[in-house]
Amino acid sequence: MTRYALRVASVAGALGLWQLLTSMDVDLWLRFSQFPTVADVARAFAERLAGDDYWTDLTDSLTRIVTGFLLAAVLGVATGVLVARSRLAEDLLGPILEVVRPIPAIALVPVAILLFPSNEQGIVFITFTAAFFPVLVSTRHAVRALPPGWEEAVRTMGGGRWRILGSVVLPGALPGIFGGLSVGIGVSWICVISAEMISGQYGVGYRTWQDFTVVDYPGVFVGMVTIGVLGWATSTTVELLGRRLTRWLPRTSYVPTGRARPRSPLPAAPAPAVSPAVPTGPEPEEARDEHLV
């Protein structure tokens, strides 16, 4: 409880400092005189929330990132598995992938404009490219790092190629794949905002840049807060999904909280003073983990 109080106090302190610096027009080396105050931003936010445009921007950006990211997840995992499992695929695709990979996705804006008939598809393409490579690379590593025993076990049960793929390779590589997905969702969020700023019509990034060009500074900050919150929400979604799907991973004892413990049929009765503390104790640890991601 005290930890939550601390966190609230921390945020409140930061906001208070901001309000103080801006409302007093502090102009030392850093210049806060042009900066909107917290109250200005909050007022602008409330106005935006009441209007339609804000929600259109929001759904536009979310549609773009979800489409691009899902495409990247599916194709990234598929390509990663293919390259890791097939020498032919590695020889054919490897060199191309390695050359394209270092190009920042946002630098592909000209390519997107040339290739795609509409801006919308271009933005999705850039979002896709941003997430594709982290997913591909982590999938490739995860598949290559699989211990051979699992596959051999399934082969000696008479399992074929698809059975091995579905029962060994994909579930076994999942922890690594989710590493790539977590990185990918972060990068593609950055890229969707940047692409919207450059070439978008509607979308949170477009709106933020638009507000800047018309000197609506509180609006810019509304956009930034929105970007932050949406980015956090999308990352957390991926993270939680990953945790849920890789719950089988052996973890150090404090991480699996209430979920796994009560089902343990160990007669843990001899220490009644300790056992009630066990499910509650680790809670803050996990909560802290989630805030770090």
Binding site: M157, G158, V168, P171, G172, W248
Partner: protein
């Protein structure tokens, strides 16, 4: 079909205790579960760049329990993986019932030393896997897998993930998984090698007990001479990249035979030839 005691080999009838497990729990409907003959003729085994065993001649008759002993790195695992079909022979013939072994197949189950259970599947789901591969309907395979887990004493652990149970329990689950699909041969690669002595003796008894009634041919690799002499009808001695000797074991799977003079002599013999 019946996989209960009437199909079992007479060679091991004298040792195995009657098991109270349901007869329907073993094997898969429609496949007669019985032993298979495994033959190696002038076979050279290993990886192409490094042959581990040269010129092996070995015939394992159906239903026999053959144990293989030898120092580390002598090619025990290579022999087993070749019989499983995971590793092609470099030369010579490797056959099952007279047909060459071309690859892994469900009727030759392999039991690994450790960590071969899929860690994301519960013990029950692990035992179900070979049945699922054979196409058994869900309800049926669940029932069979549960019966097998009960037979190896893991009924109350069925829903646990492998890393939540002990090493001995994992090996018992692996044994259940290997036998659930009703294999005709069970190839075991030091399955109890990582267990402490007491657990190991218990596992040997359990193995004898659950093999009872399956009639499967067993090739059991170990580095423990006592284990080899307890379990095997015959024992194969490997060393220095070749098959050194094949010896008949007097009174196999009889704990009381430990002090039998013939067994003691054989044990001394085996230890002597392994130390060369």
């Amino acid at each position: 079909m019946s996989t209960s005691s009437e199909t079992r080999e007479t060679t091991r009838a004298d040792t195995a205790d009657a098991v109270a497990a349901p007869a329907t729990a073993t094997g898969v409907p429609g496949t007669a579960v019985r032993g298979t003959r495994l033959t190696l003729r002038a076979a050279t085994l290993g990886r192409p760049d490094a042959a581990a065993l040269a010129e092996v001649d070995l015939d394992v008759p159906p239903g026999e329990i053959l144990t293989v002993v030898g120092p580390s790195g002598c090619g025990k695992s290579t022999l087993l993986r070749t019989l499983a079909g995971l590793l092609p022979a470099l030369s010579g013939a490797v056959e099952q019932d007279g047909r060459p072994i071309g690859g892994p197949a469900a009727d030759r189950a392999l039991v690994f030393q450790e960590d071969a259970l899929l860690p994301w599947r519960s013990l029950l789901a692990n035992v179900e896997l070979p049945l699922a591969i054979q196409g058994a309907p869900r309800a049926e395979r669940r029932k069979q897998a549960a019966a097998w887990l009960e037979r190896v004493g893991l009924a109350d652990r069925a829903r646990q993930l492998p890393h939540r149970v002990s090493g001995g329990q994992r090996q018992r689950a692996q044994l259940a998984r290997a036998l659930a699909a009703g294999p005709r041969a069970v190839l075991m690669d030091e399955p109890f090698g990582a267990l402490d002595a007491q657990t190991r003796a218990g596992m040997q008894d359990l193995l004898v007990e659950v093999l009872h009634g399956t009639g499967a041919t067993v090739v059991f690799v170990t580095h423990d001479v006592d284990e080899a002499l307890f379990l095997g009808d015959r024992v194969v001695l490997l060393g220095a990249g070749r098959l050194v000797a094949v010896r008949d074991v007097p009174r196999p799977r009889d704990r009381a035979a430990h002090d039998d003079p013939a067994r003691v002599a054989l044990r001394r013999d085996v230890l002597t030839s392994l130390s060369i």
